[in-house]
């Protein structure tokens, strides 16, 4: 034993580690791919087809077999088989080569959409998963929850109307609120509006929007709008987006002559020696974090200033209601303030 070769021992070890990595690395590991493959049964395919048809119908687009096969990530043969079964069961029908949802099919599709959006809402409110994971997790969950489980979940979340991206959640009976607003690139310069929806597909564009720190529910003013870029001001900061990215934001223009407070800013932009009053907490601060902030006194009208700057840049300590509370930058960015021009003595 004591005269083995350490080099071969090391080699065996590294081969073992590489194998483990190939099998179990997140998402692309063989283990997960195989597991996913075995789970893609007929029910999943049928439900995904229904959902796609519903989304096409909702955006008033027509869809034929070719387009459908392109958007779905399954083998063509299984899709054709599923479509045949669905026509027999009267979930869908053909109008020449255009696929249409029947009444029963639309009901079914709405149930799937309901689970998906409820689950995203659940992930946002009750768990710590990052935003980029919500969609994929909801995609899996929508095939799993039963009707009763969905209703229990909805009740626990207080029967919400919208998912965290601003998409409406269908009710038990299939009723759905309207998303107010138009795509951002359609707004003329100087329009004031509120972001009502942030589209989470495709993922690449959604990640760009997240990286820009754009928050749902914030007020904005369009500053520049042309074919190369769209510039808008929001919460004291300026955002520049490519039109293709901006198209994923839905903004409801504010028609009435509302007085928009010009000096709304994010708490993260407060400087030392400045005083401010809190206007509110952004919709992006959810669940437990939001309640904590309220508990600590970050409520409308409260006076706030910086108590201590951090030697490493964050978190800064804020003085609120006589107490010093440290918040990280991403939290402070979700608290809206109005700077007042009195200076701390």
């Amino acid at each position: 034993m004591n005269n083995y070769n350490p080099i071969s021992a090391l080699l065996i070890f590294f081969v073992f580690v590489v194998l483990l990595f190939i099998f179990f690395r997140p998402v692309k590991g063989w283990f997960w791919i195989l597991r996913k493959h075995f789970k893609n049964n007929e029910k999943t395919i049928i439900e995904d087809v229904l959902k796609q048809l519903y989304h096409f119908e909702y955006s008033s687009n027509k869809v034929d077999m070719k387009t459908l096969v392109q958007v779905l990530d399954y083998k063509n043969a299984s899709i054709v088989e599923a479509i045949n079964k669905m026509t027999i069961n009267n979930l869908i029908y053909f109008e020449s080569d255009i696929l249409k949802l029947s009444e029963a099919g639309r009901d079914y599709a709405l149930r799937i959409v309901r689970v998906h959006r409820l689950w995203e809402r659940y992930l946002a409110e009750k768990t710590g998963f990052s935003k980029t994971e919500w969609h994929d997790r909801a995609e899996m969950m929508e095939h799993k929850l039963s009707h009763d489980e969905t209703n229990t979940l909805a009740a626990r979340l207080g029967n919400p109307k919208f998912d965290p991206h601003g998409d409406p959640i269908p009710t038990k009976t299939g009723k759905m609120a309207d998303v107010i607003g138009v795509e951002l690139p359609l707004l003329p310069i100087n329009t004031i509006g509120r972001i009502t929806h942030i589209e989470d597909e495709p993922e690449i564009i959604y990640k760009q929007i997240l990286a820009e720190n754009i928050h749902i529910g914030s007020l904005l003013r369009v500053v520049e709008n042309n074919s190369t870029r769209i510039v808008f001001q929001s919460e004291g900061e300026e955002f520049k987006l490519a039109p293709i990215v901006a198209a994923n934001l839905t903004v409801a223009a504010i028609e009435k002559e509302v007085v928009i407070e010009d000096n709304i800013a994010r708490l993260s932009s407060l400087n030392e020696n400045e005083m401010a009053r809190i206007i509110g907490i952004s919709k992006e601060s959810r669940g437990e974090s939001r309640r904590r902030l309220l508990d600590l006194g970050f409520v409308k009208g409260a006076k706030i200033s910086i108590d201590m700057m951090n030697p490493l840049g964050e978190p800064h300590a804020y003085l609120i209601k006589g107490t010093s509370i440290a918040l990280r930058k991403d939290q402070a960015a979700k608290i809206l303030i109005k700077k007042s021009y009195e200076y701390k003595s």
Binding site: E133, K161, A177, L293, K300, M308, L312, P315, A317, A326
Partner: protein, 472 residues
């Protein structure tokens, strides 16, 4: 009321809820908070707070400044650790001479005089009594020094500022700034460090702090590190440098532990724990003069006494097991020898040996008895003439003599280095495991927190051993 009416009311309420919309609940809560704040403003009078606040912000300016913040922090924490390790030596050796050198022979001769059979007095006095006495002698003094000092700093209000200063480092690894405090507490005792994670109110960060606390080198492991570093690593360099080199080696191991703490925290927050709720806030309370005697009293009762009691409860059976495995024979080998022989080849692969592995298995209840157990077992298998007999743990006053025994057991510099690494990276002691269970109420996380460090330890010692053998 008939069914129709009830249905109608439910229908109506659903309709109204729909009309009110999503924001209603939020707005209601927020306006209640805002109203409450207004009422407070009108009714509560604040006086004189200004003057005190000035002093506070002056201290804060210094302890969180770019220039002085970090030096002050390292100075204070270093001082606390130094006082603990050096200061504990004297009461420890006093307790050791009382409980081990004097009490133990008295008990033995007392037992002999009333004619106790050898196996009973061996089991009770050499096994149970010795383990308990050892744990008390090594564990009590550092805890009795460390905890009160730490609690005083906490009470004064300085520790939240440390968390404040360090938070952005911890944020990078997905942890909470307050983990700096539970980690420092872990340098005293991991079980106490795990209890201290209660100050972290975010579920994900708290679990991270609990699972990674074991990477703080605790009081039970400092003496092992110092002893082995002095005997083996200090001996490599010329005599005049030996003490500084062995000190650096020990500090290096402690820093490596912090590295593992950050790394594992990061990995956990990105994988297993990413779904747990994560929030952050850190209150920075005003400074206040520590209530000295009350603090001393509570830290002795709440922290020291509880941890010590748990350790004793676990150490007693461990002592019994150590004595039993060395004295029960299967065929013509004792259980201990048989286990050591079967663990030897695996131990060799890790650059350790069977004695060390067996010592770490039986010493799960307390890291303090690892070295005495290793010495006893080494004497047992090599058959050299030293020690106090099978199953009787001992330590030697002279480091040279200790080194001689270990070298006779086949120890090399590699064995010493890997022992130091394995002492850092192995399962938490049973007191800590039990505390983790009490705090998380989850078998899954308790098992994970116990197994994960051992696997890490195996991997690290394995790699070091192979690389060492290829180079030398």
């Amino acid at each position: 009321m008939n069914q129709k009416n009830i249905d109608y009311i439910i229908e109506l309420s659903n309709e109204l809820r729909w009309q009110i919309g999503d924001d209603f609940h939020d707005n209601l809560t927020e306006s209640i908070y805002a109203d409450a704040a207004n009422i407070v403003k009108d009714t509560v009078q604040v006086d004189n707070s200004k003057k005190r606040f000035r002093l506070d912000s002056k201290i804060d300016k210094i302890v969180t400044s770019k220039t002085f913040g970090f030096p002050i922090m390292f100075l204070i924490l270093g001082l606390v650790l130094w006082l603990t390790i050096v200061g504990a030596n004297y009461p420890s050796s006093l307790l050791a001479s009382l409980l081990l050198d004097n009490m133990h022979p008295i008990l033995k001769s007392g037992a002999a005089s009333i004619g106790t059979p050898w196996w009973l007095d061996g089991f009770l006095i050499d096994g149970v009594y010795l383990a308990v006495a050892w744990v008390i002698a090594v564990m009590l003094p550092p805890m009795a020094i460390f905890f009160p000092m730490f609690t005083l700093l906490e009470d004064f209000g300085y520790l939240p500022r440390v968390a404040f200063n360090l938070d952005s480092l911890f944020k990078k690894s997905g942890a909470h700034g307050k983990q700096a405090l539970t980690m420092s507490m872990g340098f005293g005792c991991n079980a106490a460090g795990v209890v201290a994670t209660r100050i972290i109110d975010s579920p994900r960060e708290r679990l991270i702090a609990i699972i990674t606390n074991n990477f703080s080198l605790c009081n039970g492991r400092w003496p092992t590190q110092i002893l082995i570093a002095t005997i083996f690593i200090g001996a490599v360099v010329p005599g005049s440098y030996s003490s500084i080199v062995s000190l650096l080696a020990v500090i290096g191991v402690a820093v490596l532990g912090m590295g593992f703490m950050f790394g594992v925290s990061w990995a956990l927050s990105k994988t297993l724990l990413k779904g747990e709720v994560s929030t952050f806030n850190l209150e920075l309370p005003p400074y206040r003069p520590p209530r000295f005697w009350k603090t001393i009293y509570t830290s002795l009762i709440d922290r020291t006494a509880i941890v010590l009691w748990r350790a004793i409860v676990f150490a007693a059976p461990a002592g019994a097991v150590i004595w039993l495995i060395s004295n029960i024979y299967v065929g013509n080998e004792s259980i201990a020898e048989w286990t050591i022989n079967s663990l030897d080849s695996f131990g060799f692969l890790l650059g350790l040996n069977g004695v060390i592995l067996l010592a770490y298995i039986v010493a799960i209840p307390a890291n303090e008895i690892v070295i005495p157990t290793i010495l006893m077992l080494t004497v047992l298998v090599t058959g050299i003439d030293s020690g106090a007999g099978a199953g009787v743990m001992f330590e030697l006053d002279s480091m040279n003599a200790t080194g001689d025994i270990l070298r006779a057991g086949g120890w090399t510099l590699l064995t010493a280095i890997n022992l130091m690494l394995f002492s850092l990276l192995h399962n938490p002691c049973s007191t800590t495991i039990y505390t983790i269970y009490k705090e998380t109420k989850s078998t899954k996380w308790t098992v994970f927190a116990s197994i994960m460090p051992v696997i890490l330890g195996f991997i690290v010692t394995f790699l070091v051993a192979q690389v060492w053998r290829i180079i030398f």
